[in-house]
């Protein structure tokens, strides 16, 4: 069934809201009253979707129907400043969530499929532990993008996260599989302890990128503040997969002017404390 539901926030709340229910699966086949009655947690009390949002069930948007995700699971369209709404799109398996505005933390966490598009900013733990699907954020994201919650050995295990703006610390930390790409800059400890997968930072990355990584690739298109002493320099070359990844990123809407598909990279192996099978690729073209 093809559903297109639009929720428009009337007034942003002054307390954090747990919004686990805001995933397409909760909306499919429901009428306006059912949707309005879906639960949210405002601070420590239960409220409903209707307490905050104007609910509209729209005819299938032919534009949205173009994407495979929306055809399969319907589209949930959220409008307004949802920066205090946490857990939007958490555990979604299909369909598409489009947010015109910003979202709070844990957006798309544990996602297994579908698409989450945020035309605004995202909070911490964006796509944490996600295993499939794709997330696109037009603005910036907080800390722990695609990372693991405390105690887990692995964070994200599949899918892709694409951030056009900046990201905070620990981008892609403990990544097991998948792609995290940040167009802008990021904080410390990008790809910390990653097991495999790809983390790409377009802008400035701060310190300790790739620290304790086991396998996988950290691609830095802008020179970082420092490279961990536990990485060993290899050589300068153009990795054979880079043109392929470059094209793939372009498909996701991430363009890096000045970084060509034939760009050459300084290659480092590390972290030697964890076996040294990971790599940092440091783009040379950019300067």
């Amino acid at each position: 069934m093809h559903t297109h539901v639009k929720l428009t926030l009337r007034t942003p709340p002054d307390l954090p809201v747990d919004a686990q229910s805001l995933i397409p699966e909760s909306f499919v086949g429901k009428d306006q009253a059912d949707i309005g009655a879906l639960p949210l947690l405002l601070g420590n009390r239960s409220v409903t979707v209707a307490d905050f949002f104007d609910v509209a069930i729209l005819p299938a948007d032919p534009g949205d129907g173009r994407t495979e995700e929306a055809r399969e699971g319907g589209t949930l369209h959220l409008c307004g400043d949802l920066s205090r709404f946490k857990h939007i799109g958490e555990q979604m398996a299909c369909g598409r969530v489009v947010v015109d505005g910003s979202v709070g933390s844990h957006a798309g966490a544990f996602m297994t499929g579908g698409a989450l598009d945020v035309n605004g900013e995202a909070g911490d733990y964006l796509g944490a532990h996600m295993s499939g699907g794709r997330i696109t954020v037009r603005g910036s994201a907080g800390h722990f993008v695609g990372a693991a919650y405390r105690g887990y050995v692995f964070g994200m295990t599949g899918g892709s996260i694409c951030i056009h703006g900046d990201a905070g610390h620990m981008v892609g930390a403990r990544l097991r599989r998948g792609l995290v790409a940040v167009g802008g800059s990021c904080g410390d400890l990008a790809a910390y302890g990653m097991r495999a997968g790809t983390v790409l930072i377009g802008g400035k990355s701060r310190v300790r990128a790739g620290a304790n990584m086991v396998r996988g690739t950290v691609i830095l298109l802008t020179p970082p503040e420092a490279i961990m002493p536990t990485f060993r320099y290899n050589c300068v070359y153009c990795p054979g997969f880079w043109p392929i990844l470059h094209a793939s990123l372009a498909g996701l809407g991430l363009d890096f002017p000045g970084v060509s598909p034939q760009a050459v990279f300084e290659s480092y192996s590390g972290d030697i404390n964890e076996g040294g099978r990971g790599e940092i690729l440091l783009c040379r073209n950019a300067n």
């Binding site: 919650y149 405390r150 105690g151 887990y152």
Partner: protein, 550 residues
């Protein structure tokens, strides 16, 4: 008064094996229904146990539920808690965790399985105050703890005394003092000498490896402490975790320890971990049959199994060197804590997988012990929670014991070579409900010396578990119809309906009231706390109950 009617009562202590009987309860105790006016009985609050088995409340002889290392385990494994949560209700507080549950959750989960008494199996005296603080926050259960002494400096100093008479006498003074200092219930020995050895960076201790600084051997430690425990008449014998836990071929060490201790009442804990033979290439095989044979011939010995449960868990033991070995082997997280002059402890998360040969053998060895040891009063059900698995797996293990077909159905899930290394799949024995009652409550209570627990005779604590009789024994034991704690209904249909505070069980044998001067001086020389601040105060015991020594 309250009565439980129409249930099939399994009270092996009194030879009652499934007969329909009514149980009467008054003031938290079981009372005799004889001579009761039928009219009076009708007016009583009545629980209908038709179609149910009525058993004494469960008594766990060895579990890790409170204290420094358990709490470190909680900190180490937040990921265990996220998916296992209990929201507050009108009668319960919130809780979380499965492998290392929070204190309230521990009480609730045990109670929901029909357990009413649980012992924390390893508490170093200097950290006993912490263990008691946590025990105070475990509802639903009577609890107690065992004080670890196998690597204690003062104990070794006394054992080093060349004069055997004086040595025995001083040990008979020191052991009660340590029990009182830690308000403990029994004497625990963990890898005697081996932990101290490790602090010296030495290899694993054999029975006759001299332990620095005195050169006391593990053999001397276990015999000395076993003698002391015997002569003090402690309700529970020495609770021994042997050397070489987990090593292939360790059954030789275990048998040698048994020979040394033959004639002394001893409880060998998590024997599964000490029952491995060795192939020519150094691989694991089962040594369970040899140990079972030995136990069959030695009624003074008992054991609990420490049955492996497949899945994730966290090992935690005072056997610090073993934990470090495990950490290096698995590349897993590791926590360690050396406890001043008394021992150590370590923590490593593990996953037991049926397709891993060693794990499959461990799993089979535990079941073999349970099935090969003839007398159920000598072998008890534990998972050494959470080392071999969480206690919440007890119903599943009971099913494995009661249903041979189900047990055999596991063969295909296991590593294929397990068949050659064990005899489990040649065993047809099936436990009946009475035997289950023995290994989970009657036997453990008796071995702990708790005369008012583990049975349903008049005068017993009214700790009762009522299970619906189902063909799926795992389902039966995982959702009791009723659980009563001290005569009050606390669980109905598997759900907590009331919270009750249990008692703390401890002992008070005669011994040193104060340390003799030389030991006090030693204490001052090696401890960083003052003697005056060492003994656990009365404030840390909720509803204390002193179990008398024999």
């Amino acid at each position: 008064m309250l009565r439980i009617v129409n249930g099939r009562v399994h009270d092996p202590s009194h030879g009652v094996g499934g007969e329909v009987r009514d149980i009467y309860i008054q003031d938290g105790r079981i009372v005799s229904g004889e001579g009761l006016d039928p009219a009076q009985a009708r007016d009583m609050e009545t629980l209908d146990a038709a179609g149910c088995a009525v058993l004494p409340g469960g008594v766990d002889i060895h579990s890790h539920i409170a204290g420094a290392k358990v709490n470190s385990g909680r900190i180490m494994c937040p990921e265990d808690h996220y998916g296992h949560v209990r929201a507050a209700t009108d009668v319960t507080r919130p809780g979380c965790g499965l492998i290392v549950p929070s204190t309230y959750e521990t009480g609730y989960l045990y109670s929901q399985l029909g357990y009413t008494t649980v012992f924390e199996a390893a508490v170093p005296p200097i950290e006993a105050r912490h263990a008691h603080e946590e025990l105070m926050d475990i509802p639903m259960l009577d609890t107690g703890c065992f004080a670890v002494m196998g690597n204690n400096y003062l104990v070794m100093k006394v054992l080093n005394d060349p004069d055997p008479v004086r040595r025995r006498e001083r040990l008979r003074g020191l052991v009660p003092w340590l029990l009182r200092a830690s308000r403990a219930f029994a004497v625990k020995v963990v890898n005697p000498g081996g932990v101290e050895d490790w602090k010296w960076n030495a290899g694993a201790a054999d029975l006759d490896t001299p332990t620095p600084p005195f050169g006391v051997t593990p053999r001397q430690i276990v015999t000395g402490l076993a003698e002391a425990v015997d002569s003090l008449g402690l309700p529970h014998p020495m609770h021994l975790h042997c050397n070489h836990l987990g090593d292939p071929g360790n059954v030789e060490t275990t048998l040698a320890t048994m020979e040394t201790l033959s004639g002394h009442r001893t409880h060998f804990t998590h024997l599964q971990y000490h029952a491995y033979g060795r192939t020519k290439k150094g691989g694991f095989t089962s040594g369970a049959a040899r140990l079972a044979e030995y136990l069959d011939a030695h009624p003074e010995f008992t054991c609990d199994v420490g049955q492996i449960v497949f899945g994730n868990t966290l090992t935690m033991t005072s056997d610090a060197p073993m934990e470090f070995k495990l950490h290096k082997m698995r590349g897993a997280k590791w926590g360690n804590c050396d406890i001043e002059m008394e021992g150590g402890s370590g923590l490593v998360p593990v996953r037991y997988a049926p397709k891993v040969l060693v794990n499959a053998i461990q799993w089979a060895v535990g079941l073999e012990l349970l099935l090969l040891i003839k007398n159920p009063w000598q072998v008890f059900l534990t998972t050494d929670h959470p080392n071999a698995g969480p206690f919440t797996a007890y119903p599943e293990i009971i099913r494995l014991l009661m249903d041979a077909d189900y047990r055999r159905s596991w063969l295909e899930k296991l590593h294929p070579r397990v068949r050659r290394r064990t005899v489990l799949f040649d065993l047809d024995r099936e436990y009946d409900l009475d035997e289950i009652a023995v290994i989970t409550r009657a036997g453990t209570a008796r071995r702990l010396g708790l005369s008012s627990k583990g049975h349903l005779g008049a005068g017993a604590d009214a700790d009762v578990a009522v299970y619906p009789i189902l063909s799926d024994k795992a389902a039966m034991f995982s959702r009791p119809r009723f659980v009563l704690k001290q005569g009050e209904l606390v669980v109905r249909d598997g759900q907590i309906v009331a919270e009750r505070t249990g008692r703390t069980l401890c002992v008070a044998p005669e011994g040193y009231r104060q340390l003799p001067e030389d030991l006090a001086e030693t204490f001052a020389g090696c401890y960083t706390v003052k003697l005056a601040n060492y003994m656990v105060e009365d404030e840390y015991l909720r509803r204390p109950e002193v179990v008398p020594c024999g």
